[in-house]
């Protein structure tokens, strides 16, 4: 495998892709949304259950189909956000996720990587009744067709 391949499809990404964390559905979730990448038709659904306080993310799961980058990024996101507050995650800087992914992405692949995060943010804003911020990280990227 050459250097480019090695970096984009490095072990940790393939591992998250093949063994996605938090893959599944939460019945009667407190927050829920579906997102799609108009570029390739990929879809992801995100489900969130809050803790007692109605703020802390107790459980977060995803289902859907997608490429290795989008699936791995969403899997990483599940690990990153569990236990944090809804507020915190609703304004999560996309750089935090990108750092986790750890490889440079081209604009098209950035949309893949952001699909899960954007959908999660939409789910949280919907549940909280807060308006979707205009600068919703990755949203515009995501919806580019």
């Amino acid at each position: 495998m050459d250097a480019g391949l090695e970096s984009l499809y490095r072990e940790v990404i393939l591992d998250h892709y093949k063994n996605p964390r938090g893959h599944g559905v939460i019945e009667h979730a407190d927050a829920e949304a579906e997102g799609q990448n108009p570029l390739c038709g990929d879809e992801v659904s995100i489900y969130v259950a809050f803790g007692e306080d109605g703020e802390t993310i107790d459980e977060v799961k995803f289902s859907g189909r997608g490429c290795a980058i989008s699936q791995a990024a969403t899997s990483m996101l599940m690990e990153m956000t569990k236990g944090r507050t809804a507020d915190d995650v609703a304004s999560l800087d996309k750089e935090e996720l990108l750092a986790e992914i750890g490889v440079p992405l081209t604009p098209v692949r950035l949309k893949c990587a952001m699909l899960g995060l954007t959908t999660l943010k939409v789910a949280l804003h919907k549940a909280k009744g807060t308006p979707l911020p205009d600068g919703l990280a990755g949203f515009d990227d995501l919806e580019l067709t």
């Binding site: 984009l8 290795a68 980058i69």
Partner: protein
């Protein structure tokens, strides 16, 4: 000896400056010509020369530059006419892209001729550009859209036609000539005959047809036909719509404004003659000149030679891809398709395939190819698509196949 004329892709390739570079240190295997083709030097030179020696706004000026520019634009129009074997040069309208040509018909014909109870018939194989405009205008007029489904070979199932005709007045039949996803060649002449028997007009999306096979609008018997200049060695920014003069004359214009009028008064404006009535504002002049040069280029090679070359490549690709473990191929057999091959690994997403191929210098397309209804039918979100043109060489297909083996290794 072969009766079909042959082209030499290795030689032609030298006309295309894009191949003078490497990608990620590998030769460029450009297998995405169905999205847009590369341009030969001859086309680029024709445009530059036009700008450097003959540029001015057309049609109105009485000075030399304006006359030269007008002559160049109208010469390009005549080249398109001959290319399509259209009866009359006034029936050729320059557009930005094939999509605009179809929108022109959907708006200018559809808005005044469609209504409740009317049907627009398309196919499951359509590119969004020959489906969404009909859906949109049908929505505005109360008409309904029906789809001719695909059979298991990726070809149209015409047995549904009778049933459709019972459901309403068929007013428009709109299909492509060649599918951009599967390469399927559709029975346009037959469908046009059926459309006319219903009293419908036939709109042919030849965006993929025109680059790859000799088009004859009179033999096809269609009423409108849209081509996409940038897919046939022409520049971006100029394409063409052909339409029957009687229909164009009877229609409202689409865009209005400068150039397309006869006389303008606050009380009443009258439209200019064809083709001007449908060309509001300044035309894509240099780009139309480039399209004319592209037609010269294609015709010097010969459309039959291009078609034969693509069939050969399609057969070669289908054979070689069939040997790659885990690959599923979509669409009809090689002899019934153009140079377009869609495929999937059962367990690897097309985005990942295309990305890993890119790192090996291979450019293919991964996505829904603007054919979401077809993707639904195939039960996938996306496919990989390799598409070929006159400059494609078998070595590029070999490079693709080698690349696919590498993809499998990554995901092993």
């Amino acid at each position: 000896m072969n009766a079909v004329p042959k082209l030499n892709a290795h030689t032609l390739r030298a006309d295309f400056p894009i191949f003078e570079q490497q990608m990620h240190g590998k030769p460029l295997a450009f297998l995405d010509s169905a999205a847009s083709s590369q341009k030969p030097r001859q086309v680029l030179d024709a445009m530059t020369e036009f700008y450097e020696t003959s540029y001015a706004n057309v049609h109105r000026g009485v000075y030399v530059l304006a006359e030269r520019a007008t002559e160049a634009l109208e010469h390009a129009r005549e080249r398109v006419r001959a290319f399509l074997n259209a009866p009359d040069v006034r029936e050729v309208i320059f557009t930005r892209n094939a999509t605009e040509g179809i929108n022109l018909v959907a708006y200018a014909w559809g808005l005044s001729n469609l209504g409740p109870g009317d049907l627009v018939v398309v196919t499951e194989l359509e590119h969004h550009s020959n489906f969404v405009p009909w859906q949109f205008i049908a929505g505005k007029t109360g008409a309904e859209v029906r789809m001719i489904p695909l059979d298991e070979h990726g070809e149209l199932d015409l047995s549904v036609l009778e049933g459709i005709a019972h459901d309403g007045r068929v007013k428009v039949v709109a299909t492509n000539l060649i599918s951009n996803s599967l390469g399927t060649i559709n029975p346009v002449a037959k469908l046009a005959e059926w459309a006319h028997a219903q009293g419908a007009i036939y709109v042919c999306d030849a965006a993929q047809g025109a680059p790859h096979t000799k088009i004859d609008v009179q033999a096809l018997g269609v009423d409108f036909l849209a081509i996409s200049g940038h897919k046939m060695c022409g520049p971006s920014g100029a394409s063409a719509l052909w339409g029957r003069a009687e229909l164009l004359q009877a229609m409202d214009p689409f865009m209005t404004g400068g150039h397309m009028i006869n006389s303008v008064r606050l009380e009443k404006t009258t439209w200019g003659e064809l083709p001007h009535k449908f060309e509001a504002g300044t035309a894509p002049m240099a780009e139309a000149v480039g399209l004319g040069a592209a037609i010269d280029y294609l015709e010097a090679i010969g459309l039959d030679a291009i078609e034969a070359h693509e069939h050969e490549l399609a057969a070669y690709a289908l054979g070689r891809l069939g040997d790659v473990p885990g690959i599923k191929l979509y669409g009809p057999p090689a002899d019934r398709r153009a140079g377009i091959v869609s495929f999937n690994f059962e367990d690897i997403h097309p985005h990942d395939v295309a990305q890993i191929l890119d790192l090996q210098g291979v450019a293919i397309r991964a996505g829904h190819h603007c054919c979401q209804p077809l993707m639904q039918k195939l039960g996938v979100a996306a496919t990989n698509r390799a598409s070929f043109y006159l400059y494609t060489i078998p070595e590029e297909i070999d490079q693709l196949v080698d690349g696919l083996h590498a993809v499998r290794k990554v995901f092993a």
